[in-house]
């Protein structure tokens, strides 16, 4: 109890009241939490405590396609054709009989057998900043402890220590960071896929010989200062410079050259920043990067929702489908987890501006590869998409699922700067139906 104080509870209710909450309708997972109430450990029931989870990792890497702004998932993964709340969006058949996606996702519908859709996500955070934080860390923001993002945890727990590329990369936009973990686990931001990385090449007029001269002068000056002064940051500073130097010169930078791919494939991913980001993510994973997040914005559709969603899906649909297909043909999909999500869903009710507003209560997201059973839909919403009808999945549950695929022990506690142990996932249980 004490160690989760800073984090409060992602559902915003006290654990003391969880019993009532559980009985209120979420009987399925209330049992585990009741165990917690009565003093028995809850997560331990699901995750081995001795680190054996690591050996069962089904995914070696994770690619998150982040739909910034809160996508109207009713118009993507959970169409309500024929209902007022469905708007003009239609359902289309997929290559799995009995499962439909929205007509905005025609290409992805053809790889339905390889992907799983969760239609029963539920959370309580309806502001962009707070929900983004929650989706990346599994915790609501509290003001003191800054929790580490999934990518940072993954980089620290299962990243390759000697990799010359950063283990956690964020493409097309910054994302949540390392929080209280050491800065080496921060995301390395690639501003725009397909374009040179900022400050990675030497400034004009400085060749490699000159760069070496500078670095040698620097290291001799640094040595002297370090012997006369005491501070961990000095070592960090040195460490960062060494890593930057390595990064500037590693052959692995070839991953950034997307023109190495066949032009047909490049085209299939999409000639846009998002498509290029998906392709770059695949290439980075091939070189050993553990966690790549690719950003696609424009989903905050308070106005003109349907046209905007359709337009965004012209990037999203080929990007997702080609990534899944391409990795499958390369044999990478089974060990690479793909996650497609945003902050929350959007209201079933269509507002006066033909828009949809923020709606964290019931929404959808998608997973594929890396130990996820394809061709499945988990949970459902009611006929208008207002409430979760069955199998609610919380954000901590989702993170627990992702970590489990990656072989990260979700019950592990990291120590915050105040010496408080903070569990990797608090109060979340892997969604077993997703795991193959």
């Amino acid at each position: 109890m004490k160690d989760s104080c800073k984090d409060c509870n992602p559902r915003g209710v006290s654990r003391r009241n969880m019993l009532g909450y559980g009985l209120g309708g979420f009987l399925g997972f209330a049992a585990a939490r009741q165990a917690d109430l009565f003093g028995a450990p809850s997560l331990e029931m699901f995750v081995p405590q001795d680190g054996t989870a690591t050996t069962r990792a089904s995914a070696k890497a994770c690619i998150v396609l982040w739909l910034a702004g809160g996508p109207a998932t009713l118009d993507i993964w959970d169409p309500k054709e024929g209902r007022d709340t469905g708007g003009p969006t239609k359902g289309i058949d997929t290559n799995v009989s009995g499962i439909q996606l929205a007509d905005t996702m025609p290409t992805t519908a053809k790889v339905m057998d390889k992907i799983a859709v969760v239609r029963s996500m539920t959370s309580r955070e309806g502001s962009h900043e707070r929900a983004r934080y929650l989706m990346h860390t599994g915790y609501v923001p509290t003001g003191t402890v800054v929790h580490p993002a999934m990518g940072s945890i993954t980089a620290m727990e299962v990243g390759k220590k000697d990799l010359e590329l950063p283990n956690f990369m964020s493409v097309n936009s910054p994302t949540e960071g390392a929080g209280f973990l050491p800065p080496e686990f921060s995301p390395f931001v690639v501003d725009r896929a397909g374009q040179p990385i900022k400050n990675l090449s030497l400034p004009s007029g400085v060749d490699d010989k000159r760069f070496r001269d500078r670095m040698n002068l620097l290291s001799s000056h640094e040595k002297e200062f370090a012997t006369n002064h005491s501070c961990d940051e000095i070592d960090r500073h040195k460490n960062a410079y060494e890593k930057a130097d390595k990064l500037m010169h590693t052959p692995l930078l070839r991953a950034f050259d997307l023109t190495k791919e066949k032009s047909d494939l490049q085209k299939a991913y999409g000639d846009n920043t998002f498509g290029k980001g998906c392709l770059l993510a695949r290439r980075l994973v091939q070189e050993g990067v553990k966690f790549v997040e690719v950003n696609l914005g424009g989903w905050d559709t308070h106005q003109d929702n349907f046209n905007k969603v359709k337009q965004n899906c012209q990037s999203l649909d080929p990007g997702v489908a080609t990534l899944v297909r391409d990795m499958d043909s390369l044999g990478m999909l089974k060990e690479t987890l793909v996650v497609v999500m945003g902050e929350f869903g959007r209201t079933p009710k269509i507002n006066a501006n033909t828009g949809r507003d923020h709606y964290p209560k019931a929404w959808s997201m998608m997973l594929a590869g890396g130990g996820i059973q394809g061709g499945r839909v988990i949970g459902s919403t009611d006929k208008d998409g207002v409430d979760v009808k069955d199998r609610p999945v919380t954000v901590p549950d989702l993170l627990a699922t992702i970590y489990t695929c990656l072989g990260v022990n979700i019950a592990k506690k990291n120590i915050s700067p105040l010496g408080r142990p903070i569990t990797i996932v608090d109060n979340g249980i892997p969604v077993k139906e997703l795991l193959s």
């Binding site: 502001s127 002064h229 500073h237 700067p417």
Partner: protein
């Protein structure tokens, strides 16, 4: 609910001195002497051997960075090193707190505390708060209690009344009253009461009732839209509604919780709630208010608070020097919450004027403050210092004179500063040192445009040095003075002179050396 509130337990005798026989109501020492006597007593009691006093150049650089947020210009260094007056340290501090730089820097410092960093996606009148802090608070040396009251009880447009931005930002972030309550407790009390929102605090004695009692003061603050939402920089008007209540969500009776401060104080009849909160928070009896400010400033100057981290006052996190904290806070109140007095007091203490030079094995536990800490600069300090060392600051100020508008030039600088904050900062103003040491930071300095232009720019600092000084020794000396605020020592000369000579004293050799100096820990850290 009858019980002792933890804050007041912490404050103990000093605050309630009059009521407790046998304790002195006022500390016998004041200011810097008070600091040194407490700190030295603790060294003695623990057998700590402190570092020697800082060299002139060490102290000068540190004081400039901590008070003005920038390294000293080379000519100031030269003047100070030659100055042989006995009290030159305190004269320097007096000079620094009278500069515009002081007001600019502490406005940035408080901006980061009050609303955090912004990556520049939206402008959201952040600048208005900065200008208010700079022009209304720090330039005029507004007493701290008055500054806080104006931040809490603010009304009007976020564009013209910069003090409204503080509360408005908390509202905009979506957490509403709950966010405001947590933020105010952290900012002005140094405490974390937001956890009590959902459950009674496990190691403070706050209850959910306490939390909602404080929250209740802020249930009537409302933003009114002045411009349509899709404008890039939204204009809102903050006002106080006549109605608005809060209930504890889990409470059965759903009765509104009346406004009540942590020590039980309530508004007087007809007193508007926010105004009441400002008054109650800043009462002299609420020593925690002053202690939180004193501790925050202490943390700024010493790299760690007496209570550390500075926003973590609670029963489990004991202060390293409890008596000092109480007495200094009382002294601060007696000096009418004068922030310049507080800065002068800390910076003229012997404790602050210790050297940072000590090997790892000799360095005592930092909580004894027996050796000046080595600290990573904040993004603002680093940015300002780089501007100064490369001469870009002079170029900017020149441009400012030409165009006549300081605020316009600040706009341009802000653009570059944003990249720094993004690369070096985190989005809240928590311990920045913990965020130092990422690859993008290193790359920005190794290959970034600002750095490269800094050493090649026409009329930049290095260019001017090379054009006005022909002798190698003189050039090197001025480069050291400009970047590191000191003369080169023998080891430096052995390292850099042969390098430059081997390259026939070519311009690129000087560029490489200057580049090196700007990339050193010695440049990027406060020590």
């Amino acid at each position: 609910m009858i019980r002792v509130f933890s804050l007041f337990a912490l404050v103990g005798a000093a605050a309630l001195g009059q009521d407790k026989p046998g304790t002195t109501a006022r500390p016998s020492l004041s200011g810097a002497e008070l600091i040194d006597s407490h700190i030295e007593a603790k060294w003695k009691a623990n057998g700590i051997k402190p570092a020697k006093a800082a060299e002139d150049y060490e102290f000068l650089r540190r004081a400039w960075l901590d008070i003005c947020g920038v390294i000293p210009p080379a000519d100031e260094v030269a003047r100070y090193l030659k100055d042989d007056r006995k009290n030159k340290e305190s004269m320097l501090v007096d000079t620094l707190i009278a500069t515009e730089r002081y007001a600019e820097y502490f406005a940035e410092f408080w901006e980061a505390i009050l609303i955090g960093y912004d990556y520049g996606v939206k402008n959201d009148s952040k600048d208005a708060l900065y200008y208010w802090l700079r022009d209304e608070a720090f330039s005029k040396n507004l007493p701290y209690d008055e500054m806080v009251r104006r931040l809490i009880n603010s009304k009007g447009s976020n564009q013209t009344q910069g003090n409204t931005v503080f509360l408005w930002r908390q509202l905009r972030n979506g957490g509403g009253v709950v966010e405001i309550t947590g933020k105010i407790a952290r900012s002005f009390m140094g405490t974390q009461i937001q956890c009590a929102q959902c459950h009674d605090h496990p190691f403070d004695r706050y209850t959910q009732e306490d939390f909602y009692g404080v929250a209740s003061f802020f249930t009537r603050v409302r933003p009114k839209k002045v411009q349509p939402q899709n404008q890039q920089d939204q204009e809102f008007e903050l006002y106080e509604d006549a109605r608005g209540e809060i209930t504890i969500p889990e409470a059965k009776d759903r009765k509104p919780v009346p406004p009540k401060f942590l020590d039980g104080a309530v508004p007087t009849k007809d007193e508007p709630r926010r105004q009441a909160f400002g008054r109650i928070l800043t009462r002299k009896e609420n020593l925690q208010f002053a202690m939180s400010a004193v501790n925050r400033y202490w943390g700024h100057f010493f790299g760690r608070g007496i209570v550390h981290p500075v926003e973590e006052f609670n029963d489990k996190n004991k202060p390293s020097h409890p008596e000092l904290l109480k007495e200094l806070a009382q002294d601060f109140i007696d000096h009418k919450y004068d922030l310049k007095w507080l800065v002068r007091t800390i910076a003229t203490s012997k404790t602050y004027q210790l050297s940072s030079s000590m090997s790892k094995k000799d360095a005592p536990d930092p909580k004894f403050f027996a050796c000046a800490p080595v600290r990573m600069m904040t993004p603002e300090q680093l940015f300002n210092s780089l501007m100064e060392a490369t001469g870009a600051e002079d170029l900017f100020r020149l441009q400012e004179k030409k165009t006549g508008g300081f605020n316009e030039v600040r706009g341009q600088k802000t653009q570059i500063l944003r990249q720094f904050r993004f690369t070096f900062g985190d989005d809240e103003s928590t311990d920045i040192a913990d965020f130092a040491g990422t690859i993008p930071q290193a790359l920005l300095f190794l290959n970034g445009e600002l750095m490269q232009r800094g050493v090649t720019q026409q009329n930049g600092r290095l260019d001017l040095i090379l054009r006005t000084r022909k002798n190698l020794g003189e050039r090197l000396d001025l480069m050291f003075m400009s970047a590191l605020g000191r003369h080169p020592n023998n080891k430096d000369l052995q390292r850099f002179v042969p390098f430059i000579q081997k390259k026939n004293e070519d311009r690129v050799a000087f560029e490489d050396v200057y580049w090196t100096l700007l990339n050193t820990t010695e440049f990027m850290f406060i020590h």
